[in-house]
Structures are given as C-alpha cells and as structure tokens.
Point group: C2
C-alpha cells in the first residue's frame, strides 16, 4: 500500500502550449491551463505515482460509480502572483483538511494532506505563467476526487482518482462591488442534520440549481437558504452568510451560522472570523457564531439595526447583499459605502493584502517555492 508521495512526481509537459488570454477575457472556470495533475488510487495498491500531464479528457467506463452514485468531492482555492513575481497559495492546509473530511463522508480514500499541498504547489509552479497579475486576478485551482470503480454495485469504491485543474480568473465584480438581491428560500432545503451539508460534495450542488434559476427569474442573484420552521439563516447561494447587527447596548455584532453539521466549513468564513476577532475593537464589536433567523434579520432591518450583510467564499471573497425578498416582502439591507457595507470592504482589503503577500498574517500566504 503506497501513500501519497509528492517526491515521486512525474511531469509530462505539453508540446502544444495554449495562448494566454488577456485579463479582460477571463471567465470563471471556462478556460484551463496546459496541464492536469492526476493521482490514481486503488484499494489494493494505495496511491500511485502523481503525474502532471498535458490537459486531456478523462476516459471512464460508463459504469464508473462517479456517474451513478455521486462519488465526487472537490475543493476551490487560488494561487496569486505577488509584487516580486512569486506565486503564492492561501491557507491550502485548510482546503486539504476539508478535502479529507469530505472523502471520509462518502467512503473515498484518505491522503496525506502535506503531500497533496506540495503537489499543488508544484502544479502551480508549472502553470505559473497562467497566473494573471493584479488585485482580483488569480489562478483558480480545483482539486477533485472521484470514485472510478466500474461496477453498478452500491458499495465503497475500490478505485479513485484525484485530479487538479486550474482556471485563470479575474475579479468576481469587474467594476467594483455589485451588491446582490437574495430570495429567501423555504420550499427547498440545502442541508439537514445527519446529511452532508458540511462536506464539499458534488451531491450538495445539483439539487440547489433549480431553486437558483427560479430565483433568478424573479430578479434575484442568489438564494438565502433557510432551515426549519424557525427560518434559521444558513448559507447564501454557494457561500457562507454574514450579517452585522447593532446590539441593544449599542455595539456591533457580526454573526454567522455555527458549524452544526449543516454549514460548509468555509476557509473564507474561518478567515473572516479570525480577522474580526484579532483586528476589530472588542469594546465595539461582538463576533458571533450563532443561530439566527430570517425573522430576526427582518426585525433588525425594520428597526434600523441591520448594518450590513454579505456572502463569503473563495470565488468572490465577500459578496455584499442589498436586499432579501422573504415571502414576497423586501428586507432592505444597508450598503453604507454605496455598493457594500464598511466591514465588507474592510474584510476584502485585509484578505487581499494577505493573499497577494502585501501583509504577513499567521503564515496564511506562502510562496509555492517554499512548499
């Protein structure tokens, strides 16, 4: 049984490199770099030699379990180019830990997190000319694990594949922030206790698409996923949700749903909570992981006690919210700076400064050459 070994990496470079797109033509997840990182696993032999190959289609038997039983999970993270020309990764260890947790949830194999981090760093170095430069630009990385056993039996897969592909991306909001309108969704439920909503499984995504499209037909960019008769606020679209309230004693509270098993353990979520606890004045601010309901949000808005709100995730970092439609009524969400609240913008700046190596913070951003 071989364990995952980054030192055995084999690199087969392409002989037909792609042209790099200009920054203004980058679309999230549409174009990819020249190569793919691949590592096969079998129950018999463990993890095979990692290889970086020219980007190519995957060839799988039509009975492969990934097509039938959703044996699939993924991660999303980014590589950044700093002012010195170094490529950098942001908190990749958090993604690797979550990826292993996702694999465990659906009986796919565990792997050595430090070794996959090293392989991803090496992959980024191979593709470094694809990392677009400038704030907001990055190379989006998509580590993926799929079950590849060619059998229709509903069992633990005995074959799997990790692959990593990379897509050069521009700022989520090309012309600065664009605050979004949400539809509070009650008829569809994203996750539940005893389910898999805290893991980054493919299974959590497809069932949320129809509600998203339907909300779009009514003019909303995303769903605000509620849970239970109480109407607990859980997530927004594919992001964690943050709300800022004014408390009764005149403080400000930033609140997000707690990790109760139904909430994705977002790396951006964790980063925001950490930064708020470290950098905001505790005499003025309360940082809360707690349950709160859409009714509390509605009441706070009506009383002028809702300060701002945003989604948080790797793609946009923060995504300001301007409106929530709940049971046909609009809940107004203030955007003090015109297109976002003050804390929303502050958090974007703090996180981007760390990601691009302009501010050192707890070793969250590491040049790929140091892996």
């Amino acid at each position: 049984m071989s364990s995952l070994d980054a030192s055995s990496l084999v690199i087969n470079k392409t002989t037909t490199p792609k042209a790099k797109l200009p920054n203004d033509q980058l679309v999230f997840g549409k174009t990819f770099t020249d190569h793919i990182l691949e590592i096969e696993w079998t129950a018999e032999n463990g993890w095979a030699t990692p290889t970086i190959n020219p980007y190519h289609k995957l060839e799988l038997d039509p009975s492969a379990v990934v097509f039938h039983y959703a044996f699939e999970l993924f991660e999303g993270l980014k590589a950044y180019k700093d002012a010195s020309g170094n490529s950098r990764l942001f908190r990749v260890n958090k993604n690797m830990k979550r990826m292993n947790a996702s694999a465990e949830r659906i009986d796919l194999p565990a792997f050595d997190e430090a070794e996959l981090s090293k392989l991803i760093a090496k992959f980024v170095e191979v593709e470094q000319d694809f990392i677009p430069e400038g704030h907001g630009y990055s190379l989006y990385l998509r580590p993926t694990m799929i079950g590849t056993t060619a059998s229709l039996g509903v069992n633990t897969p005995d074959k799997a594949l990790i692959f990593v592909i990379a897509s050069p991306v521009g700022p989520y909001y090309k012309t600065g922030f664009k605050p979004v309108s949400l539809e509070a969704t009650e008829n569809a439920v994203r996750a539940w206790p005893g389910g898999s909503g805290n893991s980054k499984l493919g299974a959590n995504y497809a069932p949320c698409i129809k509600p998203q499209r339907e909300a779009a037909t009514r003019g909303h960019q995303q769903n605000l996923w509620l849970f239970g008769e109480e109407g607990f606020v859980t997530e927004v679209g594919t992001m964690n949700a943050f709300f800022v309230f004014e408390t009764e004693d005149g403080k400000k509270e930033i609140a997000t749903a707690p990790l109760d098993g139904t909430i994705l353990e977002g790396v951006t979520r964790d980063s925001i909570l950490d930064l708020c606890r470290e950098k905001l004045d505790p005499n003025e601010w309360i940082v809360s992981e707690r349950k709160f309901t859409i009714h509390e949000v509605k009441e706070a808005s009506a009383k002028g006690k809702l300060i701002e709100a945003f989604g948080a995730g790797t793609a946009a970092i923060v995504s300001p919210i301007k409106n929530i439609t709940f049971r046909g009524e609009d809940i107004n969400v203030p955007v003090a700076l015109g297109s976002s609240g003050e804390l929303t913008k502050q958090l974007l700046d703090w996180i981007e400064q760390i990601q691009y190596g302009e501010a050192e913070y707890k070793n969250w951003s590491t040049p790929t050459k140091d892996y």
Copy 2:
C-alpha cells in the same frame, strides 16, 4: 430544437462481440453487453440522433459538471426472456416518467418518454442474446443522464448525455431467499423534506455508503433509514420498506411510507401496492400508505403482532427481513416460511409471473417487438 426521435436511431454494431458468461458467473452490474445507447443534448439544438455504439469509455473534459456538482440521475429496470423466446420489458413507462421527474429536479433536460422507451426496447433487441434465461435471470438496464457542460460555473447545464448500458444478472438470492438483518440508523439521514430523496439522483447514494459499511461491520446487511425524532420508518438500504402488522380487529395490514417527498417512488413499491389492492381479500387485508415509527414496529414485534417485513426494489423484487437492531436491541421479524413471510413469497411469485410473461396483468409486461 430537435426532440428525441427513436425512428432516427443509428446502430453501429461491434466487430468484436464478447463471450456470454454462463448463468452461474453473473454478478450484478459487473459485466456489460456489447453496446451502449447514447443520445447527446445541447440547449442550442436539443436531442441529437440516438446511436447504439460498441460499448466504450466515456471521454469527458475534467471540468464537466457531472464530476463536480453531481448532475447525474439514473434508472434501473430489467428485460426478461419469456418461454416463447421473446424479450420483454416491465412497466418501462413508470421508469421513464420518474427519469423525467429526476431530470426536472436538477435542471437537466426533459425528453419524450415514449421515444426513450422505444429506444430502450430496440437496444434490448440488439442485445437479446445477452438476456439470460430462467426465473430470476434478466438483463439489468441502466438508463443514465449526466450534465456534460465543461465549465466550473454552478449553473443549469447546457449540455447533457443520456446513455443506457446493460448487465446480465442472475437471481439476487442464488439459493432462494436469504432474509437480512437491518440496523436502524439514526445518526445519518437519507432524505429530508425540501431535499431530493424522491428523485433517483446520484446525490442520494454516496452519502449513504459509510453508514452502510459501518452497519456491515456490526453484522447487518442494510440500514433501516429513520426520519425525525419520532423515528419514522422510511426506506431500507436502497429499497422501499414494507411491514405487515396484525391489527386490533384481527385483520392484516401491509404498510409502507407515503410519498411525502422523502421516499423514492419505487416501481416495485407501486406494483406491490397495486397487486395487494387487487388480489388480497379486503375482508382480511388493509393496504396502507401511512407513516409509522420504529417504536410501533418494536411494540408490534413484542406483542406478536408483527407478521413479516421486506424491502422492495428492482434488483431483488422483495428482500425479506429477519431482524432489526435498534439502539442496541434486537427486534425480531418473523419469517413464517423459514426464509421469508408468506406475503413476501406470494408477491415475488405474482411479480415474476408477470415479468416473464406467464401471467397477463394490466399490460405491465410487453414484448420489445411491440414497442
């Protein structure tokens, strides 16, 4: 926009036919026939020309949405060889209807159900030499639909593929019935109101594998999926669950969970309810689609009022239950005939007689040449 058109079918036959396995070597879903039926769809052009090609691997871009967001759904049905040598399909219209409902749930495209039925019948005719003969033997068919858009955006796919593969299978229980032991599962939850448990999506399967494997380590073949604090009985493994109780006025009641959105709308489930309503004496029997709890099952067993229980699905038709372990205690389930209850065996016989064309019933079984 082309709609699905069976009359345009193109057949490319293999030049290297496989050897047929002897009946005693057939394993469910492990070996496949010589061909695959494929129909591509694009939002722009609709359904392309259906083709039957030599069985081959699928080639897909690693960014295809089926690998990341579980845009996948499937059906399971069987083709049977009758005593006159005709190949037959059982209630394929029910599978086609459910397949369209599954597609709708995850924003994959709709198709003409009668046309796909015809194509499946033609596919079975091409593969008819692979249909093993005899009661319990059949050709398992796996219609599948996947989203194939090559983009990481979380959106409605604009490309999809229907494919159908076929695996010759033998009786689920090679040496007659083998009643199973279940573990009543409380820590993991299969489905939730507002979720997708009533659709045949890949997303419903992978998250149930770890609880299944864990139950197996404790000696149980399947999970009995419970729901809610009340402990409602929902499904058993990947089958619908039926329990037979003696009522207070001395009648017998066959009960299964109602279609409340969390229960798969099983074709075998529907067939059993229909047959029980038509064939059982209403002075003796009550046929119920109603909620009941594990506590009710436990109490009935303790009082000698639990008559029998079984799972119901396409693979096994009926799967008798002999024991349920709930919170460490065993609930004994009678098997009056030694390895199953009387009704369980009766239902197997009724359904097999229809499937193999020995008994005509409501046009449930139709020779493929008549499509």
